[in-house]
Symmetry: C2
Subunit: 431 residues, 2 copies
């Protein structure tokens, strides 16, 4: 049995240097847990001439990935460089050369997970990716092992820290979207180009991964309905609060007899729901299982050391299975073929805010359109609007199918009394 | 490789029948995950003549435990019968006969874990016990695997559902302890003899197990300082609320350079702390790691199906390692010898409520006693008491050592102005 496991590291950015830091700080404890030493032999970087602070002088820097993928001494490749196409090429080659993989790359796993899983399975390699969803929260392991005997019905995730930070700030300080986004960018909580976060794509990638694992079906990003929080209005957050809700960007993945629906969208959550108290840049995944009922996993969704913790925990798992001779056995092919819910079977409550002409019979006309599709309302609040002849309406429906709601929504156009539909959000029950 | 794994079940109470239910309901999914069938061959019961509803007619009931421990066909023994001495005898024999063990028995693990781990290690048997702490929450796995690369500094747990239910009811409905306890007993949330729950013993057992795992040191129940919630006053809950705190029965396990302190006691938690929103019979364990920062695991702490889910997830892990030939490798001996913090190194804030004579200079006298030991106050609130010549005082200290606080507390006796010290609780910061 080997007494040293040799690692090649792809990337030496924030997470990469966190991985090196944790491996050095916890050398003894890792030795104790795995029965062997874990050494980083080679690190792939973009720029060889940039000065680096590497304590372990035996670690070699390279800008040629083949120095890692083709080095027979390297057992495990840890990928924290990000990117998709080029990274896929490298990991493909690493796996074909029998390297085990730990990756933190959600974009890659969400888009090319199938191929990577298949290749690693064929080559009896491990492929772990805990850090790809919700940073430091061991959610993937909890779904695969801890809840392995249960049937998962629903997962709801706050899986993007940037948007949760923005929504928390807006809620607590009453500042509008653009101002908070600007501040978040200055503080480094939001990217210069915030598109992937703000428009929900990042969250959608994570929900794709969770859905594959939780429901054992081969989903991909195209199966997710995505709506971000760009330009979300302070008015909605404040009205929601008055109605007893918090506003969060929630990824929902639901499974019943009619199939699975996965979405990411701004959502009103009852204030007493466990996810409502997840604030700032924190992440949490709420899981509802047939047998276990409600559980929730809470923690930091990003950051150097939380993410590196997840990467190194995966690395320890790889090392253990290498030592035990059980590599490549962790992956289980999806048990079921994909079964996506039709719009008529997607049932939720909806919140709408709209501006209407203040004219007699307006509300009757409006509710009549919804009634045609069997949609009734749980709450309606009417307020003065800024303009004299207008009113602002907040409406929360009872349970309605996505199909019926879309039809009613389209019919609203025919109503001359409606000035604007300002927002439409999903509403979740307290379950 | 075997294609059927045969199980002996000890106990057919609530959890036992839950285990049978889950194994039957999820037969296919378990087959898919493990590559083999899992069958219960024999069930140990107390009373053979009691009618039972066992669908699987090939399952045999017995009242002789040797029919399980000595049956060479049985691979795994699942223990859900509870109890300590007799159960220990049975498990000891099962392990010596090479059976793998899954147990939900926190009392047994907290008291005799050492012996059982040693025996199972020696016999190359698996021993899993996820259900022994926080029912359906996969917390043990999260500590052992998910956070395996981190150094855990602090764990705080709401790990007893009964007391959390009682405190939630008192807080939300303003009902006093005795009335809520009575109601909880009628509803079956509390035992007829509530001692183990209400006096903190049950929580202490769970904190013992978490401390062994989290800090890799061989603790036992005697290392835990225990104070329950019996007779806790509604007044304290209401004052705490006004000061911005919730009152919870919290198990705290802390590790720093001076050692480890483990306690269970009524604690004031800032209202915005993630544990403050854990209500009713729910459990949660908050873990603070050097690298990961704050994480929290939330879910049902008890109940038939949640507990059975944890048991069956353990069983799946045993079956996987049997199939992979890696049985008995999961256990890691504690890395460190036990290092218990001295009282002078145990630093916390304290809340006190007391009744004093309303006389001039009283407050000065009182604070002088504390000042002798370097103890100062963060908040002092003075109120009218029921009796004319008395005042009620609520005081929250700054950080103080347990030793200094005890000394000051003892000195209070010398003060003639003090009528009664009604309560002393721990106060946790927001971290």
């Amino acid at each position: 049995m080997k007494d040293t496991i040799t690692v090649g590291l792809l990337g030496l950015g924030t997470v990469g240097s966190g991985v090196i830091e944790i491996l050095e700080d916890h050398k003894e404890s890792i030795q104790h847990k795995t029965g062997c030493n874990v050494t980083i032999k080679t690190v792939l970087v973009n720029n060889l001439s940039k000065p680096r602070d590497l304590k372990n002088t035996s670690t070699k820097l390279t800008d040629r990935y083949e120095d890692i993928t083709q080095d027979p001494e390297i057992d495990v490749v840890v990928e924290v460089m990000g990117g998709i196409d080029h990274t896929l090429t490298i990991l493909r080659e690493a796996i074909e050369n029998g390297k085990h993989i730990v990756t933190a790359n959600k974009d890659l796993v969400a888009q090319h997970g199938d191929e990577l899983f298949e290749a690693s399975y064929r080559n009896k390699c491990d492929l772990f990716y805990e850090a790809s969803v919700a940073g430091g929260i061991p959610i993937i392991r909890s779904i695969l092992d801890g809840l392995s005997s249960d049937k998962i019905r629903k997962m709801m995730g706050i899986v993007n820290g940037t948007t949760n930070y923005i929504l928390t700030k807006m809620t607590k300080e009453g500042v509008d979207f653009d101002a908070v986004l600007k501040e978040a960018q200055e503080l480094g909580f939001a990217e210069a180009d915030p598109t992937a976060d703000v428009d929900g794509l990042d969250a959608a990638r994570k929900m794709t991964i969770l859905s594959i694992l939780g429901f054992s079906m081969p989903f991909n990003l195209e199966d997710v309905e995505i709506k971000g929080i760009r330009g979300i209005s302070l008015a909605d957050i404040q009205y929601a609060e008055q109605l007893g809700y918090s506003v969060k960007l929630i990824g929902v993945a639901e499974h019943d007899d009619t199939g699975v629906a996965v979405s990411v969208e701004p959502t009103l959550l009852p204030i007493e729901h466990p996810l409502s108290s997840v604030n700032d840049e924190y992440n949490a995944v709420y899981v509802y299982g047939d047998a276990v009922g409600e559980t929730m996993f809470y923690g930091p969704g990003a950051g150097k050391l939380p993410t590196a913790t997840a990467v190194v925990s995966d690395l320890i798992a790889v090392v253990k299975s290498l030592r035990l001779g059980t590599s490549g056995t962790a992956y289980v092919q999806p048990q079921f073929s994909k079964q996506v819910k039709e719009k008529k079977d997607q049932l939720t409550k909806k919140y709408m805010r709209l501006h209407v002409h203040d004219q007699p019979g307006m509300l009757m006309e409006l509710t009549k359109i919804f009634a045609q599709y069997g949609i009734s309302f749980d709450q309606i609040i009417q307020r003065e609007a800024d303009k004299d002849d207008e009113r602002e309406l907040m409406m929360v429906t009872h349970q309605v199918s996505e199909e019926d709601f879309q039809r009613a929504y389209n019919d609203l156009e025919s109503l001359s009394s409606i000035r604007s539909v300002d927002s439409v959000f999903r509403v979740e029950g307290s379950n």
